[in-house]
């Protein structure tokens, strides 16, 4: 093959690459990937462990495709830590040419955490993420508690939301974050959000003590956690 032929071959190769990439972007649409996950309960405490359950994870989506995953559980009991029923997790997502998105929902009913320290008739975590040519957004609309009571104090009456990242101390136990929201992405081409409706952080005082030279404070150390109603969605 002479130099002139190589020249044309190179031009054709470059042209093919450009056409291929253009076609690829057109097929890929406004997002390269979407993600979603949901689970009703997670327990990791000194008295018991149970991984995310029932867990629904959005399968990998390629090209312009979509998928849905769901999981259900009738009851969940970790003695001394958590009991609940009607456990449901759903996640779905899609990559499209004009819009891509993911949405996840996790719920649990008849919730009883740490022998009645926290109770609720139900908690629903609901998140969505979407990206269009005008930008990327996520929100947790539809995330609510039904008759939530924390340490004997009613937090919601009937079904209602709680302000994001509401922190309530649980003396001798640790603290709980209600409607814990963990955002991600730049809001332009990417966006994501994780919502944990109830996230209990168990803490113990470690170290510290007194000597002839004086007293040193102890350090609060997280020794476990309980999560009820966790939903995640993301686009990028």
């Amino acid at each position: 093959m002479n130099g002139k032929s190589m020249h044309w071959v190179n031009r054709l190769a470059v042209l093919g690459l450009v056409v291929g990439l253009t076609a690829g972007f057109a097929v890929a649409g406004v997002a390269q990937s979407v993600g979603g996950q949901a689970y009703s309960t997670y327990v990791n405490t000194p008295v018991g462990y149970s991984g995310p359950s029932p867990l629904a994870v959005l399968p990998a989506i390629s090209g312009t495709d979509g998928a849905e995953a769901d999981a259900q559980g009738s009851t969940q009991t970790i003695a001394g830590a958590l009991s609940s029923d009607f456990l449901n997790s759903i996640t779905s997502g899609e990559i499209g040419t004009a819009e891509s998105g993911a949405q996840s929902t996790a719920s649990a009913a008849s919730i009883n955490i740490l022998n009645g320290l926290i109770t609720a008739d139900e908690a629903i975590a609901n998140v969505m993420s979407s990206v269009t040519p005008s930008g990327a957004v996520s929100n947790a609309d539809g995330s609510t508690f039904t008759n939530l009571v924390v340490a004997g104090v009613p937090v919601t009456s009937g079904d209602g939301p709680v302000a994001p990242n509401t922190n309530i101390s649980l003396p001798g136990v640790g603290y709980v974050v209600l409607n814990e929201q963990i955002p991600s992405g730049d809001g332009v081409t990417s966006s994501g959000l994780t919502v944990n409706m109830i996230h209990v952080y168990l803490q113990s005082l470690t170290g510290g003590g007194c000597t002839l030279l004086g007293c040193l404070p102890g350090v609060l150390t997280t020794t476990g956690e309980i999560i009820v109603g966790s939903a995640t969605s993301s686009v990028q």
């Binding site: 996640t91 779905s92 899609e94």
Partner: protein, 224 residues
């Protein structure tokens, strides 16, 4: 020519249906063929493509409520709710992914709907052009609604619609699913009366009808 292919493609399905009807003595799984399966001529128009979404609705059974999509409910010839009675009310969460073929038959799809007050969960699973729970094709329709959006109805005509597994009882029920993507090209944070502009409706022969209801949260996306 194409129409001939369509008719021929139905023949194996009808044979399967006949065999299933003959074998289905215990009635554990439904026989939708006895309820009036739609012919190809009866099927509604649709645009091939895919629909995906999920979220939550809070139907109240009150047409004056801010989340009742009165404007779009009659679109596409859909009947006024509740059909069947009564209204299903309270928290409903859902997720779905549906692919439509050119002949208005769902080629594959998954639909999960949870009705929280009753602690009931329905699941529809469609593979290889048939409902996994009764081996029959599922017809769908897409149409413009009155607020500039586009809607999808899966399970036409209703009844029999399509067959869903019901948990925790483990039984089956005839259902129909409808969603409307009303924020096409608009801001995904758009609101009507504080609710999302997309809407969802669930009809179940033994439990009632939510009516077309704006989403409290979530999203519906038409990728057709």
């Amino acid at each position: 020519m194409l129409q001939e292919h369509k008719h021929w493609s139905v023949v194996p399905g009808l044979l399967v249906v006949a065999l299933l009807a003959a074998c289905n003595q215990d009635r554990l799984s439904p026989d939708r063929s006895l309820l009036g399966k739609p012919s190809l001529k009866e099927r509604q128009p649709c645009t091939p493509g895919k629909w995906t979404g999920g979220g939550r609705i809070d139907p109240t059974g009150n047409r004056l409520a801010g989340n009742y999509d009165n404007a779009d409910e009659p679109s596409g010839g859909q009947p006024a709710a509740p059909d069947p009675a009564p209204y299903m009310t309270g928290k409903v969460t859902f997720g779905f992914n549906v692919f439509l073929g050119s002949d208005c038959v769902v080629t594959k799809g998954e639909i999960q709907v949870n009705w929280h007050p009753a602690k009931l969960a329905w699941h529809v699973s469609i593979h290889d052009n048939v409902d996994a729970f009764d081996n029959q094709p599922v017809s769908a329709s897409t149409f413009d609604d009155n607020s500039g959006g586009r809607c999808l109805v899966v399970g036409l005509p209703f009844p029999p619609g399509m067959t869903a597994r019901v948990n925790p009882q483990g039984g089956f029920e005839q259902v129909q699913f409808e969603v409307c993507d009303n924020d096409r090209g608009g801001a995904q944070n758009g609101r009507i009366n504080g609710f999302h502009v997309d809407a969802m409706r669930w009809r179940a022969t033994d439990h009632g009808d939510t009516g077309l209801t704006y989403l409290t949260g979530g999203n519906v996306v038409d990728h057709s």
